[in-house]
Structure formats: structure tokens, C-alpha cells
Assembly symmetry: C2
Homo-oligomer: 201 residues x 2
């Protein structure tokens, strides 16, 4: 059997990664999601092993030292990380997995899984990105300015990805990503098994 | 404007390249076809510049020496070749071009156009391939045996292509190739223009 695909959806904050991933999972029901580990305390309604794996800091640092994460980051004093073993297990079972992740995280994943499919979500314009971040109403003016500068710089990383998908219409973007996933299943590098099978006359 | 895509459809004789290309052009009406040059005499109904560009051997050899072909071959005493300039002109105009071509030809094209999209059409099995070649009724038993040995060896070249598409159901194969072409339009390497455009606030 062919291994599953690791699909990494990434891009600047405000590009629309979250919405795209939700919609993608609605139309591709077989896509699995990786559950992250975190040292953050559970919020109301969050379930162990579904929302996150909740572990303490000592355990998290142990796992970092054992190289057990595909990627990890410390955000506002809490650790977040993608457990390697769970992801690899799914892929070996032939399941496709989707990871929604920021750019620094995606670059870490690429080192560990160069055969993943790395998709950079592009906002339609920096002006529109600013509108979206302002629309959330969660950031101060200074914070927005900083985010915009960051987004501008982050566009440089697009070329380290396999694909760049413009998110001006969510439906179109989701359709393009579906196409990319289906196309990637036909990559020659993933076809050893079938070519050997055909040889059996 | 983005450059067009050069899509190379290739694979062993009998894999079904011809049928796939015809169907693909029916569903993707914007796909252009490259017209080959040949030293073969025109058959009835063939039109200069549509079926082929008919030129004499001296002219053909001149063009070989001037490096004017993406690929060429001599088959049963006649030359056949894909003119470089016509293909490049179409791509620069933003048109996608499809080339249906044997494996040796595709490998020559890859040297000249590494950014092309190289698709290897895989017969469902060598047994089925034999049935198809026998079904044509054009080959002797010895010729068929030789073709089969050749097809077996040619499967090794699949890994030099970008994609491998199994042709057990023509409809499915055509759909997969459509998906590949659409996905390839989102490759990061082809997205310089749009990323620069987004930077213009």
C-alpha cells in the first residue's frame, strides 16, 4: 500500500489557513488531523487527545530532547508541538494528514519530512490582510503594524514551499488544494509499489 | 503574466498516450498542440503546418545542427522533430502546450525544458499492454515480443518523470492529468509574479 500524504497548510497570520483547513476537511472526509501537544492548561470544553494532548513542561522538554516533535514552538510562555510518532503512524497506515501551521513550524516540519506537500496560503493583498487582522479586533494598532511588517517579510518564505495558493476566494482556494493533493498522489516518487506490481506478468 | 506550462505525455508504446491526449484536448480546450517537423512525405489529407511541417532532409539536418529541436528522432528512415521556437513562443504567450512523445524524446525534452511537467502513462499491466499491441494487428509475433521486452525495460524511466498516471480507466487517467495540470499552475517556482504583485500595497 502507498503511504499517506503529509499536507502542510501554512502562511502568514491572517491569510485564512484556518478557514481553508476546516472547509478542506468537510470536502475530503478521509483527511486526518494531527493533534498537538501543549503545556497550556485545558480551556472549558477542550478534550484530552482531541483538542490537544495536555502535558506538563518537564514532560514537554523531555520530548523535545528525545526529538519526538515534528516541530514545536513556545508562544506566550506555553509550548505547542506536533508529535512525530502519531503523524508517522497515520502516514504508514496510508492515511493523509493535514497540518495547519505557521511558517516557522512548517520549515521545521520540512526538515523532518521533506516528502510532505508544503502549501503556502497567500492573502490576496497586504491591504486585505490588514483588513482581516483589523476585523478580528484582537490586536492593537502597534501589534497590527508589526504583524504587517512580519507578513511582508514572510512572503519571502513562499519559495521554500512546493505550492503557493492565492486565497482571494475560499472556495477556489479549497478546490485548488484538493487538486494539489490528488495530483501529488501521482508523483513518480510515490509510485514504486505500482510500477513493481505491473512488472508481474 | 505567467508563462504557459509544457506538459509532456509519454510512456511505453501501447500505454494509451494518444487516446489520453485526444480526450484531454476535448476537456481542456485551451491546450495547444505542438506541430512536429518531418522529412516523411505528406500522406493524403495531411496539411502543411497542421499535421506536420514537411521539410527535406538537408533542411532537417541543418536545423539539428542549429539546435532548433526540443527533441528529434529518426524512425524507419524519416526524421521527426519538435521545433523549439514554436513551443517557446506559445509558452511565452501564456499558452499551455501538450506534447505526446515516446520516452527517448521526453528525456531529450527534459534536458531542454526542465521546468516542463513530465507525465509517464502506465499501462495497467504488461499483460494488458500485450493485448493492446496484439489488438492493433500491426505487429508480428517477434515484433510484439521485442516491444514487450522494451516496455518492461522502459518502466525504469518512470522515475525520471514528475508524475506517473495509471491508465486502466481512460476517464480517470484524463481526470488525474487535468488535476496535475491545474495543481502545477500553483507551484511556488511559477509564482514570482503574483508574490511581487501582493507586495504592492
Amino acid at each position: 500500500m502507498d503511504n499517506g500524504l503529509l499536507v502542510v497548510i501554512s502562511g502568514p497570520s491572517g491569510a485564512g489557513k484556518g478557514t481553508i483547513c476546516r472547509r478542506l476537511r468537510e470536502v475530503m472526509r478521509d483527511l486526518k488531523v494531527s493533534v498537538s501537544a501543549t503545556t497550556r492548561k485545558p480551556r472549558e470544553g477542550e478534550k484530552e487527545g482531541e483538542s490537544y494532548f495536555f502535558i506538563d513542561e518537564e514532560e514537554f522538554v523531555n520530548r523535545i530532547n528525545n526529538d519526538e516533535f515534528l516541530e514545536y514552538a513556545r508562544v506566550y510562555g506555553n509550548y505547542y508541538g506536533t508529535p512525530k510518532e502519531a503523524v508517522f503512524k497515520q502516514l504508514q497506515d496510508g492515511n493523509d494528514i493535514i497540518l495547519e501551521i505557521d511558517i516557522q513550524g512548517a520549515l521545521q516540519v520540512k526538515k523532518n519530512c521533506p516528502r510532505g506537500v508544503f502549501i503556502f496560503i497567500l492573502p490576496p493583498s497586504l491591504k486585505e490582510l490588514q483588513n482581516r487582522i483589523e476585523g478580528r479586533g484582537t490586536d492593537s494598532k502597534d501589534a497590527i503594524l508589526k504583524r504587517m511588517q512580519c507578513a511582508y517579510d514572510e512572503l519571502n518564505y513562499a519559495f521554500e514551499y512546493d505550492y503557493v495558493v492565492l486565497n482571494d476566494q475560499v472556495d477556489e482556494a479549497v478546490e485548488k488544494i484538493q487538486c494539489i493533493i490528488n495530483a501529488e498522489k501521482n508523483r513518480a516518487i510515490r509510485k514504486n509499489a505500482i510500477i513493481n506490481k505491473i512488472r508481474e506478468v
